[in-house]
């Protein structure tokens, strides 16, 4: 049996244990497997040596009834200094990068990710692992990668009242490399970072936002959440959402700015770029572009609504372009004088 299968069966056989206790068992066996494999043991042989997951679980359940849980301090009355208190209030874990880093990769599951600036120090991930989180960190050749996955996902009504789970990534002001961050079903936010070479942000069902920093090549993508860019600067930007609203405000991307949505509105205020593209299928497009419309080769199309732009207006020698498309929405794009 391979490790994931073994751990899954073991976790399934331990459902009657508390979340914390079960996570403790899973972590223990996962660590045993990692250490064994690192010491040259065969993964499947090692796992066979543990015994049958159901028997292991039965033994642990029996022992836990008999005793090792009875000393645990209940969460309501934490006692200082005992081992139980540490579990009652899980502590934040800190994962700093050890060497020089040019690329940061953060992949999360059902957990919000926040990329935030710090003055100095290494790139550092801060996270309080929950009961069934699994965290993998590695660093190689300047790539620092943090991956959080969940062994299994159990919904508990208690989660509705607890603070949303969050992974914080501290990015030092001097960092000028690439960041790739992704999560599912949760918010992804980057704000106030310095000047990056490239950034990719993706979330499957969450809100995505980037605010107040410079990035030469920015890609942002979410499926069912809103997408927001504010005060961003840089070379090129592609931002895409399927069913959410795409917004850009006060953004200057020298080479290209592309905002796309399928079923949401596209809205841009005070944006500047040589090549601008706004696309949506079923939403409206409204924008104020800083610049002179005469410099732009304009193409626009909507099938079923009003349009403030000419369908096609281009002169030879124009170096800038504006391309606006929607099928069923209104197009309202205006130009305003460039800011001094």
């Amino acid at each position: 049996m391979k490790r994931e299968e073994f751990l899954r069966q073991l976790a399934a056989a331990l459902v009657s244990l508390s979340d914390a206790e079960r996570a403790c068992v899973i972590d223990y066996y996962r660590e045993m497997i990692c250490d064994g494999v690192e010491n040259g043991k065969d993964e499947e042989e090692l796992i066979a040596g543990f015994g049958n997951p159901r028997e292991i679980a039965a033994q642990i359940l029996k022992e836990s009834r008999e005793g090792f849980q009875e000393h645990e301090v209940p969460a309501e009355s934490p006692q200082a200094g005992s081992a139980g208190a540490a579990r009652a209030a899980p502590e934040e874990s800190v994962y700093p990068a050890r060497g020089a880093v040019h690329t940061v990769v953060v992949a999360a599951q059902n957990t919000a990710v926040e990329l935030r600036p710090v003055q100095g120090g290494p790139v550092t991930v801060r996270f309080t692992p929950g009961t069934n989180d699994h965290v993998e960190v590695y660093e190689q050749g300047g790539v620092f990668s943090f991956r959080q996955t969940m062994t299994f996902s159990v919904f508990h009504w208690r989660d509705l009242f607890s603070r949303p789970r969050r992974i914080c990534v501290d990015i030092p002001a001097s960092f000028a490399g690439e960041i790739r961050a992704s999560t599912g079903n949760a918010r992804l936010r980057a704000a106030g970072l310095g000047s990056l070479r490239a950034m990719t942000l993706s979330s499957s069902n969450g809100h995505l936002s980037a605010e107040g920093f410079r990035c030469e090549n920015l890609r942002a993508r979410t499926s069912n959440g809103a997408l927001e860019l504010r005060g961003m600067r840089g070379g090129a930007c592609t931002a895409q959402t399927s069913n959410g609203r795409a917004t850009a405000e006060g953004c200057v991307f020298r080479d290209a700015l592309s905002l796309r949505s399928s079923n949401g509105a596209v809205c841009a205020q005070d944006v500047e770029s040589d090549h601008i593209e706004f696309t949506t299928s079923n939403g409206s497009v409204s924008a104020v572009i800083r610049g002179d419309m005469r410099e732009y080769a304009v193409r626009s199309r909507t099938s079923n609504a009003s349009n403030t732009l000419p369908p096609e207006l281009a002169y030879p020698g124009q170096k800038k372009s504006l391309d606006v498309r929607t099928s069923n929405g209104r197009i309202d794009v205006r130009f305003a004088p460039a800011q001094a």
Binding site: Y28, E31, D35, E38, G49, G51, G67, F68, V135, E136
Partner: protein, 103 residues
């Protein structure tokens, strides 16, 4: 060995393995298995029990991009080893008596 007694002895062996420095699951198994038979699955409840009774405390440290749980012996754990060793003389007398009577 009778399971209840083995459990008690195993606890002491685990504590003994932690006396010099904190250690982790895989290393503990490797260290004590030449002296007493122990598997990964028997070790888990022992560690949890020692932790719950305050004989050991735990902390995590990063190793090869993952966290490894370390166990550190605490004063009640050291006390337990002293008690066990203190009983040795008494046990020797008991063994001697049983041996004599079984001749």
């Amino acid at each position: 060995m009778d399971t209840q007694r083995k459990k008690g002895v195993l606890e002491i062996c685990v504590l003994a393995a932690l006396q010099r420095e904190p250690s982790y699951g895989y290393r503990i198994v490797g260290e004590i298995s030449p002296c007493i038979e122990v598997s990964e699955s028997t070790l888990y409840p022992i560690l949890r029990r020692l932790e719950a009774s305050g004989c050991v405390s735990t902390f995590s440290r990063e190793h090869n991009g993952r966290l490894r749980k370390y166990y550190r012996i605490e004063p009640p754990g050291r006390e337990k080893i002293r008690e066990f060793l203190g009983e040795a003389e008494q046990m020797r007398r008991i063994y001697q008596y049983i041996e004599e009577e079984s001749k």
